[in-house]
């Protein structure tokens, strides 16, 4: 019999039991965005990729930017539940589940953006039938598949105890199919010493794996760009740079979700200012690293006189000036300032800092991918403006928002099945505090 503190259950399960009108409205708004995106996708499949803004030089646009962005978000789970798990940090317990959910959901969404970018969707299986292991895309396929499986296993490991608690809680007011689901998914877990030990060992092993895999996945993604000869991409720092940027974006999203769920499900007692400050400090430290890597990359490009690097930097500071400043100055300095000074640290301000950081990182991906493609070795000599510069069409915007909507919808759906804060984790924490 799995027992849980009555108060914990009372606080953390209402969202599973009841669904408010607000939830439905929000869900259907996201669903609407999703439907618009699907309509755009159908147009694209029907008329061909000519309906996007991609042309012969800028062959990778919004879709690849979104792909890198969503894959990057998946790093938050690796950091919070992986790294901090291995360090046995106590304060992280309320936010572990959210972090892991971000990881899994964004890992599921990311590859879809690759599918949108592929010209022949009917031949997608060739990636598995005829793989060439010399190609960075094959490395990426293998790495993402491995990461997906690993993160699912890890997420499931963290759900088992909670499902067991929910299964055994007699006053749980949910539909019968949910009860059945808990029963099946909890594997009959009864909380014995032996079972706990098995679960703990499995989680430790998987936590270590998740960290390693996350680094590999994101480095492989970086090397898709890094191994080519294109100016701006052929940079040795890309591997570590992308990993840091991923951790940065994942942490930013975590803060945002903490704020949302805290507000919506009234979890003020569990997610306190202390959590915001701690994750915020983490954000600032990572922002510092990210800023250092960015500066290092651009300094060496700018200082040297290699023509193609100079042309690219020129383009960044003229055509892409505002985007560049936003991504690499405001996106780093603003969160840093807000969180570094205790006077500025409030829950809303930290959340705003996280929003800015997240948007800045999306723009950062954009100015890594597109300006390089607009400045090839042989100059683009054409009369058509859409072949000279990249201009995303409504379909690409629609699919971007559809991706964000799917993320939100999946999160909302999961919050109806499992508590967004891990009950079992919180219980352990309480026990330790009582014993102290």
């Amino acid at each position: 019999m799995m027992e849980a503190d009555k108060k914990l259950i009372a606080d953390l399960t209402p969202e599973i039991e009841n669904t408010s009108i607000k939830w439905y409205i929000t869900f259907f708004v996201f669903l609407a965005f999703f439907v618009v995106g699907i309509y755009g996708l159908i147009q694209q499949i029907d008329k061909g990729h000519i309906v996007t803004g991609m042309r012969d030089n800028v062959v990778w646009g919004f879709y690849i930017v979104n792909f890198i962005f969503f894959m990057g978000l998946s790093y938050s789970g690796a950091l919070i539940s992986g790294v901090l798990h291995l360090f046995h940090t106590g304060w992280r317990k309320p936010i572990i589940r959210m972090a892991e959910l971000i990881t899994v959901i964004s890992l599921v969404i990311g590859p879809f953006f690759i599918f949108f970018c592929i010209g022949r969707l009917d031949r997608l299986h060739y990636l598995f039938m005829y793989p060439r292991i010399q190609s960075p895309i094959t490395w990426d396929v293998i790495a993402i598949c491995t990461d997906l499986v690993g993160c699912f296993i890890y997420l499931y490991l963290s759900f088992i105890e909670d499902f067991a608690i929910l299964r055994d809680y007699p006053d749980l007011n949910v539909a019968p199919w949910k009860k059945k689901l808990y029963k099946i998914l909890s594997l009959g877990f009864t909380g014995t010493e032996h079972q706990h030990r098995l679960l703990r060992n499995a989680r430790t092993v998987m936590a270590a794996m998740i960290i390693a895999i996350a680094i590999i996945v994101y480095s492989v993604l970086a090397w898709i760009f890094g191994v080519t000869l294109q100016p701006g991409w052929h940079s040795t720092i890309f591997g570590p740079y992308f990993v840091i940027a991923a951790v940065f974006s994942g942490t930013g999203l975590l803060i945002i979700l903490m704020w949302i769920f805290r507000k919506v499900y009234h979890l003020e007692e569990y997610i306190t200012k202390r959590h915001f400050v701690n994750v915020g400090v983490l954000l600032t430290v990572i922002a510092a690293f990210y800023g250092y890597f960015t500066f290092s990359d651009y300094l060496t490009k700018w200082y040297g006189s290699i023509k193609m690097d100079s042309i690219l930097i020129d383009k960044l500071f003229t055509d892409y000036y505002s985007l560049f400043i936003f991504a690499n100055y405001i996106g780093i300095l603003l969160p840093g300032i807000i969180i570094a000074f205790p006077r500025f640290r409030t829950i809303p301000s930290i959340t705003i800092a996280a929003v800015i950081a997240l948007l800045a990182l999306w723009v950062n991906r954009y100015i890594i991918v597109i300006p390089t493609l607009e400045t090839p070795f042989l100059p683009i000599q054409d009369v058509r403006t859409d072949w000279i510069t990249y201009a995303p069409t409504w379909i690409e915007w629609a699919l971007t928002f559809a991706g964000v909507s799917v993320f939100a919808m999946l999160f909302m759906l999961v919050s109806k099945i499992a508590p967004i804060i891990s009950i079992s984790e919180m219980q352990e924490k309480d026990k330790i505090e009582i014993m102290k």
């Binding site: 990778w60 592929i118 100059p379």
Partner: protein, 322 residues
């Protein structure tokens, strides 16, 4: 322009005949045996066909005994396997004489016609380059360089593009998934993508052959193939034949000979005498296209803009140093 019959259907017939020949030899063998045995295996139609078998013997076979060599799939596989093997003991290269190019664009037109390309697909592209403010502008025709260390081949995740032993890099449009990694991998922007349905009429019994890469397929990548189908017949690529100025030379480096259709010269001599070089040699991709510097030009660069369409001349408005 001799490129209406691109050879693919005649190749198919040839293969069919080869197959029939082989089949015929075996049938003839069986027929012989049955004749000696004295029993008639099938009902003969009485009409006979004379066929040449691959080893040179002439056989006469009853028409009812003839069957095609393989299914459509087997023929397609055979065609693709030959395309992958290439021509034995050859190493093809092209030399572009920049001192003669006047942007006539006959090469572009011949290429587009020969490969059923839509007008905005240019496998051979003409740039106007200027290396520095103080140096001269010149016309720069750029086919695919068929590099010896092709970045595009290295990054293809499904092996749709490959380098064959005779130096030519081909694209298999039945394998390409359209990820466009090869397009970002090529530093010379040599590849084009089929963003929409090219709307090309394909003949009924067309067998897809990567050596011509006809027809262009929506959602896949295309590029110059050094007219590998012409090479198989001992004929020069279409652009080389079409150039009115004799700018493009083509040949087999193993024979150390290149020709532009009018004059035939030794490749090594051409390189020494005219100081041939490769574009962006330091990228290390080892291209198979060599350039002769634009010296001793007999006409000004602007001559290439005369009489050309706005869509062409407008491209070169902002030519400057890179």
């Amino acid at each position: 322009m001799e490129n209406n019959e691109t050879g693919k259907s005649s190749r198919r017939n040839f293969l069919r005949n080869v197959g029939i020949g082989v089949g015929a030899v075996s049938v003839a063998g069986v027929a012989k045996a049955t004749l000696f045995d004295g029993n008639e295996a099938n009902a003969k139609s009485g009409k006979t066909v004379k066929l040449l078998s691959p080893d040179g013997t002439l056989v006469e076979v009853d028409q009812s005994d003839i069957k095609p060599a393989g299914t459509d799939r087997e023929i397609q596989a055979e065609v693709k396997s030959e395309a992958k093997k290439g021509l034995p003991n050859r190493k093809f290269a092209m030399v572009v004489d920049l001192s003669k190019c006047a942007n006539a664009r006959a090469c572009v037109d011949a290429c587009q016609e020969g490969h059923m390309l839509p007008k905005d697909h240019e496998w051979m592209k003409i740039y106007m380059l200027q290396d520095d403010n103080l140096t001269a502008k010149y016309w720069f025709p750029r086919p695919c360089f068929h590099c010896d260390k092709p970045m595009c081949v290295s990054v293809c995740p499904v092996g749709a593009t490959y380098k064959r032993p005779d130096g030519i890099v081909l694209v298999d449009n039945q394998r390409c998934i359209g990820c466009k990694f090869c397009m970002t991998g090529c530093p010379y922007s040599a590849r084009v993508f089929n963003w929409k349905d090219p709307e090309v009429e394909v003949p009924e019994d067309h067998v897809y052959d990567p050596e011509t890469n006809i027809p262009p397929v929506e959602g896949t990548v295309g590029k110059c193939v050094f007219c590998a189908d012409n090479l198989r017949k001992g004929v020069l690529p279409r652009c080389v034949q079409a150039c009115p100025m004799g700018v493009l030379y083509f040949g087999d480096l193993m024979e150390d000979t290149v020709t532009n259709g009018v004059e035939t010269v030794r490749f090594s001599k051409l390189m020494t005498d005219r100081a041939g070089y490769r574009y962006k040699e330091d990228l290390g991709t080892l291209p198979s296209v060599y350039y002769l510097p634009p010296t001793n030009r007999e006409f000004p660069v602007e001559m290439g803009l005369e009489g050309a369409d706005e869509t062409i001349t407008g491209r070169y408005k902002n030519v400057g140093p890179r």
